[in-house]
Amino acid sequence: MLKNYFKIAIAVLKRRKFFTFISLFGISFTLTIMMVLAAFIENVIGNDYPDRKRDRSLYITSMEERGKNAMSSGSPSFYFLNKYAATLKTPAKISICSNGGNSTNTYVNNKKIAINYKYTDANYWDILEYDFVEGKAFDAQQVKNGEHVAVISEGLKKEYFGDIPSVVGKYIEADNVQYRISGVVKNVPITTYMLYSDIYIPYTVSKIDYLNKDYQGGYIAILLAASKADLQKISNEYDDVMKRVPMENKDFDHMNCRAESYMRSFLNTGNEDSSGLTEALTAIGVFTLIVMLLPTINLININVTRIMERSSEIGVRKAFGASSKTLVYQFIVENLILTLLGGLIGIILSYIIIQIINSADLIPYFVIKMNLMVLLIALLICFVFGLFSGVYPAWRMSKLNVVTALKEQ
């Protein structure tokens, strides 16, 4: 039966080549957009380097202070996190680091290199699992002593030093300060923005006074639980602490600074009324709807026209024993074959586009990969697309009166 449907579907595709081209172009183009988007999102969300323990971590990344006539939001300060988060009892480990928004320029052979830098503590290297290409991280003693040591990314190593085998022990200049390199780590894509950096240095060498007693000030905290089950305990303890935190000044009467999962903190807008997750999902949903709606309507239209050309076939099939349900099934299967064919073209197109995006290096250290998840999403999109654009025309077809259908030639 399916073989017969397949034969018919292919024959119908061959019959009106222009229509087929328009249909396939619409489907594959739409699916390409969706697949590239899905691949992008999947890679952004799915990439767990270097925070491989993110399923048992909580992140404090933003703070919002509100009063009757004032509102202020941003990242918490080192002072705030050190005082209220680092003192928590329930986490197995706590790290405080700058939130990655710092950048400076450095010069090598008269060439300017823009670099991102990040202040961290020693726990940072225990909680996060950076892959060291060479050397090691700085330790707690070095942080305490305020030593000018640094861990740099592989990308910066290449850019700054060129292709040399080892740079551990060498010095790198950033912001007019010389740092001795203690280790080199594999690049973190910029999309993992909370942890991305070119150079990592102890927070104690920060030029900005990290002991400044403002509540806000460009730092984040990562709270690692001993097990997933402990996450709730940490959350509860932190919430209790937060309830007792005095307001920073008279302008504010309310403060919101949550310890959240990776995804929520990743999408955090700093606005306590919306999680960011909702907004992101709504945005993706609306975008998907718009991108899918027009080609779906177009495909429905083309399908209806094509069905009417096949009324004689429909009449014959009904006369020889096809029920309306069977015909609906046949047409949906045919349409799924068409959309899957379009999907296949879409996958090839997406692959090409992703290769172009990757080779153009539009997003630093971010490589989009077509993994199984992306392919499954693509398949699901094809299926939904095929189903939606096939159901209405199929239903109309099945309702055709046999006698009328057979009169048409």
Partner: protein
């Protein structure tokens, strides 16, 4: 085998009501070859469609094998047509996108059968109409007579007890028409298939067991 009682068919539009069939009662015996004749527009095809359960009468009752057909659901009707009835149309109604063999297999798709069974039965049916050498051709590569023979093979492949033929020789020249008629006569004689045929051709009608004439929707003979 087929019993029609007071069949009436009225076509209604907003302003006009047309009586296409007026109180037709007809008994067709098992193994009978019946022809229906009459001028264009007299209701021959409408009657055949009603016998074939492709159309519903406005009034009256049809029984096939003592079974009333008016209460059957869409699925039951489809099943009934598939098992009991075979259709031959004046303009063949072959699916041009499918090869001859696939066209003939079509009725078998709607019943339990394996691909091999379908192929064997379709080849056998094509053998009966003398087209064993055309299985891989597409309908557009065949002559009118050959197309109608493919249509006959499709009608008989499921071994139905009744074949309904709507002017099967209408589009064919006399030689080809006779060939097709011979096949139908042979089917009726050797397999005992009940055949109801609409025709314009007196000569063809004379070869059948009984002739029914219609005029303006009424039975006149």
């Amino acid at each position: 085998m087929i019993r029609l009682q007071n069949i009436e068919k009225v076509y209604r539009t907003d302003t006009v009501e047309t009586l296409a069939l007026n109180s037709i009662s007809l008994d067709i015996a098992k193994g009978e070859f019946l022809s229906i004749m009459g001028p264009s527009g007299c209701g021959k095809s409408t009657l055949l469609n009603i016998i074939g359960l492709l159309d519903i009468p406005t009034k009256g009752e049809i029984k096939i094998d003592e079974q009333k057909t008016d209460s059957l659901s869409d699925k039951q009707l489809a099943n009934f047509r598939n098992k009991k009835l075979g259709f031959i149309f004046q303009s063949y109604h072959l699916i041009n996108d499918l090869k001859v063999l696939d066209n003939v297999e079509l009725p078998l798709l709607y019943r339990e059968s394996s691909a091999k069974e379908r192929k064997d039965l379709a080849s056998e049916a094509l053998g009966k109409v003398g087209l064993s050498n055309r299985v891989k051709h597409f309908p557009t590569q065949l002559s009118g007579g050959q197309k109608q023979r493919v249509a006959i093979a499709r009608a008989i492949v499921g071994r139905p007890e009744i074949i309904l033929a709507d002017e099967p020789t209408g589009n064919l020249d006399s030689t080809m028409g006779n060939e097709v008629m011979d096949i139908l006569l042979n089917l009726n004689k050797s397999d005992g298939t009940t055949i109801v045929m609409v025709t314009h051709d007196e000569n063809m009608a004379k070869k059948t067991h009984r002739l029914v004439r219609l005029f303006d929707g009424s039975q006149v003979q």
